[in-house]
């Protein structure tokens, strides 16, 4: 997109060996200074918009008073880390963190383990019912929370699993498992089929081919599926709000809400908690984001 049409031809009186490009002529792939300036301008504006809400949250978390968000100017003079110490020492932050990690990691492990073979099967084999199965996988992606929430709540309360980590993990598996299968199908599709054929020629069964040849090659794909189901479970709000009743079993998403559900909203503490959650998660995200992008686009867009 960056190329601009070269319209002018070099003036005839220029010496042929002059290395400088003639005025007004640009090489392919270069754009005019004005276009470049506009691009930078738009990108800088967009970056500021992307950055601001998060930066603002960090800034507010340094104000000691719960109404400082209405008078942000005053924060400069009295910046303090008190909110952070308070949250870490006097709230259930670590309990919430533990719940979030248990639930998210549980979902991730089950999701990836269960879905890996399926991703391989739908990538490589055309069995009767294949299309219907793919359709079912897609349809489960469309489930609004409301569809499963009521029956799940009833079933879990019959099984006495409301307010338990296992219950929440089971609920999250309903979305994580088909999604992982989906993502991994995309990744397996990018592994050349010749490898399978070579394995078959050497006498491996389909399972052997999968376990010995394909699985080791698919590690980045597995990592993407794992990461994606982790952040999905980590950030889920609706089920966590409804199914976790005990203050100590809240996930972070629910715990954060508990600061405002009281009459006296402690917004300064909330901001600090939000930052404490956001920093490690974003850092983790940036570590894997390159793979994530490849995995998602490969998974989402290649048939």
């Amino acid at each position: 997109m960056s190329t601009t049409t070269v319209t002018t031809t070099a003036p005839a009186d220029r010496p042929a060996d002059d290395p400088r490009p003639p005025r007004g002529v640009r090489r392919r792939g270069e754009s005019s200074p004005l276009a470049r300036l506009t691009s930078h301008g738009v990108l800088i504006t967009a970056s500021l918009i992307a950055l601001f809400p998060v930066a603002w949250l960090v800034f507010l978390s340094l104000g000691p008073d719960k109404d400082d968000y209405l008078r942000p100017g005053g924060i400069w003079g009295k910046m303090t880390l008190d909110n952070y110490t308070f949250v870490l020492q006097n709230t259930n932050f670590f309990d919430w963190l533990k719940s979030s990690l248990i639930v998210s990691l549980g979902t991730t492990v089950i999701g990836v383990l269960v879905a890996a073979t399926t991703g391989y099967a739908v990538s490589r084999m055309r069995f009767p019912g294949y299309k219907k199965f793919m359709w079912v996988l897609l349809v489960t992606q469309m489930f609004p929370v409301a569809v499963l929430m009521v029956p799940m709540y009833q079933i879990l309360s019959d099984l006495r699993l409301v307010d338990s980590y296992l219950g929440l993990v089971l609920v999250y598996c309903t979305t994580a498992v088909p999604y992982c299968a989906w993502l991994m199908k995309g990744y397996f599709d990018t592994i050349p089929f010749e490898i399978d054929e070579a394995g078959r020629v050497d006498g491996l069964t389909p399972f052997g081919t999968f376990a010995r040849l394909i699985l080791p090659l698919a590690k980045p794909g597995l990592a993407v599926a794992a990461f994606y189901s982790f952040i999905t479970a980590f950030g889920e709000v609706a089920f966590a709000t409804t199914f976790m009743l005990d203050d100590e079993k809240y996930t972070l998403a629910v715990g954060l809400q508990s600061f405002v559900s009281e009459h006296d909203a402690q917004r300064n503490l909330m901001a600090a908690t939000a930052v404490l959650i956001a920093i490690p998660v974003s850092a983790f995200f940036y570590l894997v984001q390159k793979n994530l992008v490849t995995g998602l686009t490969a998974g989402g867009t290649k048939g």
Partner: protein, 334 residues
């Protein structure tokens, strides 16, 4: 995708010459494909137990008048049996054309459609624009990309709270507007501005995914196509129209579908931005949640019925979308 080839063996499934009877065909099919069935079995079991069974149970609930007062429940040591009864399709009839159906269902339905269309259009438009800019040879584009991905990196439930601080009556946005001499809307109280704010926040959250996916799509377009177009004297707009857009087609059709599904079902943004305070800014999903869990008594049957209707809308939409893509000779990648 359309040709039935067993890619592991390279055989075409239609190659078997004589057509045997149905029983032996079934057996042969199973002999041939049993390993595929074994491999999908874990997911099939999970889907059956965790999805289909609750779905069937939920559908049954929609045919009853179950709520939190007549469902089986435990109060202290007392177990109370469920007393709800079967009422057929009354719930659906009531939702769709009962009294006040407009206020309860149709107004939310219209707003949900507007919400989905506006959000996805903004996601796609802004995402494509930024992706095009980032696809240039530009100093610092890696840095730009990292910053622009930030809204995706931070969990939604965290950033929505950040937005709530900003949108509060005397928050930074209104202070800024005030300083510029512009009117300061009540973002979190006035229905129109609530909706506006919801779309704004969701756009902010959703653009990075589109941008990154479309950037991936742009980078996979063969550069020689642009050179050829340029040789033929195509203007920048013509190159965009005839090279870029067709090159992005398969990525676009997928991300737009995913975007529509995700936005239609977007729970966290609206729920966390407004809680119970904005009955008119609720989309169908959050509205169904309110019925089932946000009020007393909890109306399980109606909430489940809303859920079924939502699922039906999405399935019908996706079927048409897929058919439309196929008619235009584009395969949906999924």
């Amino acid at each position: 995708m359309t040709v039935a080839i067993d890619r592991a063996t390279g055989k075409r499934s239609g190659d078997r010459a004589p057509r045997p009877g149905p029983a032996s065909r079934l057996k042969r099919s199973f002999d041939k494909h049993w390993y595929a069935y074994v491999m999908i079995a874990p997911v099939a079991v999970v889907l059956g137990v965790l999805v289909l069974y609750p779905l069937a149970y939920g559908f049954y609930l929609t045919l009853t008048d179950a709520n939190s007062l007549n469902s089986a429940r435990t109060i202290g040591v007392n177990e109370i049996e469920a007393t709800y009864k079967f009422i057929g399709l009354d719930n659906y009839a009531d939702i769709l054309w009962g009294e006040t159906a407009y206020d309860r269902f149709w107004s939310h339905f219209v707003w949900t459609i507007v919400w989905t269309a506006a959000c996805v259009a903004l996601h796609y438009g802004i995402g494509l624009g930024l992706a095009l800019l980032l696809n240039q040879k530009l100093r610092g584009r890696t840095l730009y990309r990292l910053v622009l991905v930030l809204p995706w990196a931070v969990p939604t439930f965290v950033t929505v709270f950040g937005w709530r601080f900003m949108l509060a009556d005397a928050g930074i946005i209104n202070s800024g507007l005030d300083a510029l001499g512009l009117p300061t809307p009540l973002w979190l109280e006035d229905t129109f501005w609530q909706r506006f704010a919801a779309i704004m926040v969701n756009t902010w959250c959703g653009v990075p995914f589109m941008m990154v996916s479309l950037l991936g799509g742009l980078q996979s377009i063969d550069a020689s196509l642009y050179e050829a177009a340029e040789m033929d004297g195509a203007t920048a707009w013509q190159r965009f129209r005839h090279v870029t857009l067709p090159g992005l087609r398969s990525v676009s059709s997928t991300v737009v579908l995913l975007g529509i599904i995700w936005t239609f079902n977007q729970f966290a943004v609206i729920f966390l931005l407004f809680g119970n305070t904005a009955p008119d800014a609720q989309i169908l999903v959050t509205w169904a949640y309110q019925l089932g869990f946000g009020q007393q008594p909890r109306d399980f049957a109606q909430s489940a019925a809303y859920g079924m209707l939502l699922l039906a809308i999405l399935i019908v939409f996706t079927s048409f979308y897929r058919r439309w893509l196929n008619r235009n000779e584009q395969q949906l990648a999924i």
